[in-house]
């Protein structure tokens, strides 16, 4: 019975957070000359994360962030996300011809995911990371990389610690990061279409961050943005593992040898 009661607290808390976030609404923040629109979803995750910090988890807040409630949220988050995925069909279907016509562009942009290694690995080596760099630059550090690294090196290795750290950072800040970088990239000259395609990075919450920020930037292109992002995301879930095993792993091995040559 106790857990049922605490679940009601959770529900009430979520309703309040949604109401507050919606009433804050869309807020535009200027960073230099770039206008970044912060959407209600950004406030929702900020509020729930900040209140979840241990200094706030006292008294009544402890009942909301009870062990059972936090466990429920992480176990069923994926199910709560499903209606979002169910929406994408309605965005993609009316534009399927247009998407198939540029289908090859969707496929080659998957290779762009190697950017994690091309940009991340040199920086990691420069910062003095070695085997940890392998785990933390192979990809976005989502479930696919986590599984691969733990199978090959176990999670209790330097490689494993690298991928786990990236996983934690991505889980906490991924959505926020992508909702900020998307408008910045647009301001630096990238087209909305290309950024929408790039939004399908392989993590649903990161994609949501990026694509909804793009929608705030160009509201009249909502369907294009959602359809391109969803199509590219779907392709990533088909091809992601293969890109990792056949392209990312060999590339990383080659670059790693090149970069740490002579200093081992």
């Amino acid at each position: 019975m106790k857990s049922k009661q605490s679940f009601i607290y959770l529900l009430a808390f979520v309703l309040i957070v949604i109401a507050v976030s919606e009433f804050i609404g869309i807020q535009a923040v200027k960073v230099g000359s770039v206008k970044i629109s912060l959407l209600p979803l950004v406030f929702a995750i900020l509020i729930t994360m900040i209140l979840g910090l241990s200094i706030f988890r006292k008294g009544f807040m402890k009942k909301i962030y009870s062990e059972a409630n936090v466990a429920f949220s992480s176990k069923y988050l994926i199910f709560i996300m499903l209606p979002l995925m169910a929406r994408y069909g309605a965005d993609v279907a009316p534009r399927i011809e247009e998407i198939l016509k540029v289908g090859w562009v969707f496929i080659i942009q998957e290779i762009g995911n190697l950017g994690t290694i091309l940009l991340g690995l040199p920086i990691a080596i420069l910062l003095g990371l070695r085997r940890e760099a392998i785990g933390s630059t192979l990809g976005l550090g989502r479930e696919g990389e986590l599984a691969y690294i733990s199978e090959k090196y176990t999670l209790d290795s330097d490689e494993g610690r690298g991928v786990l750290s990236l996983y934690i950072i991505g889980t906490l800040f991924g959505t926020l990061f992508f909702s900020i970088i998307a408008p910045i990239m647009h301001a630096s000259g990238f087209s909305i279409e290309a950024l929408a395609m790039a939004s399908g990075v392989g993590s649903a919450s990161m994609m949501t961050g990026s694509s909804s920020a793009l929608i705030a930037t160009a509201p009249d292109m909502e369907q294009t943005i959602n359809s391109y992002a969803a199509a590219s995301q779907l392709l990533t879930s088909f091809l992601g593992t293969y890109t990792m095993v056949f392209l990312a792993v060999p590339l990383q091995r080659f670059m790693y040898k090149l970069l740490v040559r002579g200093d081992k």
Binding site: L10, V14, L15, I18, E22, L39, L41, A44, I45, L46, T48, G52, S54, Y65, V70, S74, Y76, I78, F79, L82, P83, L84, M85, A86, R87, Y88, G89, A90, V92, V102, Q109, E110, I111, G112, N113, G115, I117, L118, L119, G120, I123, A124, L129, E132, I168, I169, G170, F178, A194, L195, M197, A204, S205, M206, T208, S212, I215, N226, L234, S237
Partner: protein, 161 residues
């Protein structure tokens, strides 16, 4: 927590119902804030369709766990739901029109509220990560995004768009 068979599906159905109800609530908040518009029968129909596609996706994903093909076993439930939705929406515009009644941004707010709560216990794990990996993370995230955007831009340019 021991749930099997029908019981398990009933639980999934309820969680999905919770999810679409929260979307409805968010939509209502948006209407109150903007001072115009209201929930229509169309909104409810749209949410019902989203619920249905999600549930079908869950069932397929659960059934595929028993198929002896690794790729199908490991294909994420999120992917199954998008495929179900895509196929149904290609078959009939009825679904497209129904779903279009639901505001996209109303779907995102409740998800991120739960996402924030779900990571509450991970905040402490941040101490275990090094500042080096945090810096690397910025470049890793930027790398995949810029990499894909550059190739998309090039591809779209070459195909004359």
């Amino acid at each position: 927590m021991m749930s099997t068979g029908m019981n398990k599906y009933a639980k999934y159905a309820l969680v999905l119902l919770l999810s679409v109800s929260l979307i409805l609530f968010t939509e209502q908040m948006k209407f109150i804030k903007s001072g115009e518009g209201h929930i229509t029968f169309g909104t409810i129909t749209g949410l019902a369709v989203l619920w249905l596609f999600s549930f079908i996706g869950v069932i397929i994903s659960t059934l595929m766990k028993k198929v002896p093909v690794k790729f199908l076993q490991e294909f994420p439930v999120l992917g199954w739901v998008s495929i179900v939705s895509l196929i149904c929406c290609l078959i009939s515009d009825v679904f497209v029109d129904a779903i279009a009644n639901v505001n996209f941004l109303s779907i995102t707010t409740p998800i991120l509220a739960f996402a924030g709560i779900s990571v509450a216990d991970r905040l402490a794990d941040l101490r275990k990560t090094s500042w080096r990996v945090a810096i690397v993370a910025v470049f890793v995230f930027t790398g995949t995004y810029v990499g894909s955007a550059l190739l998309s831009e090039l591809g779209l340019y070459l195909s004359g768009k």
